[in-house]
Structures are given as structure tokens and as C-alpha cells.
Symmetry: C2
Subunit: 214 residues, 2 copies
Amino acid sequence: MPRTNKDFDSRKEQLIQLALEQFIEKGYENTTITDLQKCFGLTKGGLYHYFRSKEEILDAVIEYGLMQETKGLIEELEQIPVEKKLIHFFFSTTTNAFTKNLFKYSKNNSSSIVTYRLREKTTKILVPILKNIMNQNIESGFYKSKYPDEMSEFSIILAQAITEAGMLSETDLDHKKKRIDAIVDMWSKCMKPPAEHIHELKMNLYKLISAEEN
Amino acid sequence: MPRTNKDFDSRKEQLIQLALEQFIEKGYENTTITDLQKCFGLTKGGLYHYFRSKEEILDAVIEYGLMQETKGLIEELEQIPVEKKLIHFFFSTTTNAFTKNLFKYSKNNSSSIVTYRLREKTTKILVPILKNIMNQNIESGFYKSKYPDEMSEFSIILAQAITEAGMLSETDLDHKKKRIDAIVDMWSKCMKPPAEHIHELKMNLYKLISAEEN
């Protein structure tokens, strides 16, 4: 009986889940392709049917995790008034177990290739969603900017810089708050939303970094 | 005869130079600690006298390269009028052969651990130099901002994002120019320098990305 595409995809999804478990248990760097082959219960040829390398497995794990995350997010965003979308976009938290585990692994292994590639792919997957939100808010007159697409790109990068370890120097909570004040001031000058929106943005960012500290 | 610290440091510098050559020749990922040991002409124990791991050798290579770069830069900056320092900081190019080779290797291997760690360390080494420039310009009244330190951090991160591959999606020259327009507009709103300065900044950034394209 011929194998269908659906069989292939659901088997691949299983393998991706097993791979993340293996990375968490052994560390990505210490996991060999033979380890993965064993934990998949596949021959070398069987594994290469799905993935060409360990790097490709990592990318598949990251893409799968981010897809789980954004699938729900996009659906939620459709139900939300336009001027509330940005706050939801930045501050809703993932409920997907796989994605949570991936983020947790990355957080515990900062300055590893997993964190770097996750960061890079997160930007690329989130920017289009934020661009869409920005442009809707420009159309409705809630934001004003000649550069909604570019401001979307910069906002994701800077949000990563102030909330994730590694991009900027380690610092204390007071200086982290000052970084937030500076970014929110910049945002206010460039996007000109109402003052309450800026306040809400700032309070949510404060909450986020205070939670990270604990 | 006891070995002095100076002997140790100059031998370590030699090893760092050999290590970069080896990484360029074989690729960082494909270079083993045994390869490095052989190319250093050292026993395993001899190598561990200088470095504890391949990762530590990479970090030493990157730090050495950035130190060569910034040593000259800091001296040059002292000779330059305060309102010209920022342009010099962002647009002077390295003349050091080691640093050039390191940057070239990184550019040819984007999305590799070398590029990621180089980016991370570059930020940390350049931010304090830019903070110094920003604060001098605030004192002289050339820039106006409540957040010179934070704007220094954000400027380095965003400069990397718009000039290096990998942080944002690949795009064409026109859109790269629009990113520059957006970042310069943001800078103008946040730092309030004279219009000629903003124009000079923009022209230099255009030149930089046009050169990168070729």
C-alpha cells in the first residue's frame, strides 16, 4: 500500500517531537545523528528520508514550535479590536507544550546555536504578523508613520534585545526598566499613538521583565 | 629559566592567529581540537595550558580581532571633533588584516556560530565606545536625548540588523534604503541633531549597503 503525504507529515511531526525531547535530555551539541536515529527507531537511510542533517532537524524543531505558536496567535488576533492587537501580539503567552519546552531549553542554553537560530527564525516568522497589525493601525489612524513595515522589523529586534539574554550586556532591573522607557519613548515619537496606549505598552513590558527576573 | 607572562601572551597571540587560519581553511565546525593541537605544534596538555576548549579558542579569536579593531578606533576618535565622532565610529573601516579576515570569514558563513558570537561580542565591545560618543554630544548640545546610553545600545543592534545578513529577511536594495530612511528618521526624532548631520548619516549608510551589494 503506498504511503500518503499525510502519513509522511504525521510521522515527521512525531520525529520532531522526539528530537526536541532528545535535545532537552542530552543537549543539542552533544546529540549525534546516531542518537537521533536510535531514538527515532529508524535506520540511517530511514532518517535521511525525513532529514538530511542534524542542523535540518534543529530547524524543523524550531519551525514546528513557532508554527504551533503563531497558528493560535493569528486566530486570536482576528477576534481582537485593531488598537488592542499590538499588546496582544507582544504579551500573550504560548499555551503549546512543545513551544514552551523549546523556549525553556533555549533560555537555559543562551549563547548556543539553538538560541541563535530560534531568535533568527522568530524574527522572520513574527515580522509579517506585526506588519499586518501596524498597517491596520495606520489605516484606522491609531498609529501614524511613514515606515510601518520597517518599524515592525525594528520593534521585533529591539523587543528581543531588551527581553532576551545575550544581545545586550547583562544588567540590573532598574537599567532594564530604563531600556523600556527609552524604547517606549522612541515608539511614541515614531508611531504617535494615544498616551494611554504608550502607558499600557510600558506597564506590560515592566511586568514582563520583572517576571523574567524571578 | 621561568617563562614570563609576556612570553605566555605573545605565544597565545600566535596561537590565536594560527587558529583563525585553521578555521578559514577547514571551517570552524569541521575543525577538531586535535586539528588545532597539530597546527599549534602542541601536545594536548600544552594546548590546555592556553585554552580549555574549541569554543574558548573561538572566543579568543573574536576578542582578539575586535580588540585590534577598537584599539585603533579609540585612538582615532580622540583626534576628531565631537560632532564628527559618530560618523567616524560607524563608517571607518578596519585596516587590520586579522580583523578583516575574521569579518570576511563570518560574512561567508552567515547563520554559523562564528557569526552569531561575533555579533554578540561586537555589540558588547562597541556599546561603551558609542555611549561615550553620545554622552559627549549630549554635553556639547549637538544631540538631545534623555536616553543616550540606551540609544547607543539600540543603535548598534539596529545598525547590525540593517547591514548584516540574517537578522532580518533578505531584501532588495530599494527596501534596504527604506530601512535606512526609517532608522535615520527614528534617530532624527530621538536625538534631534542638525539636519545636515542626519543627511550625512543617511548618505553614509546608503554608500555602505550599496558597497555590500557589489
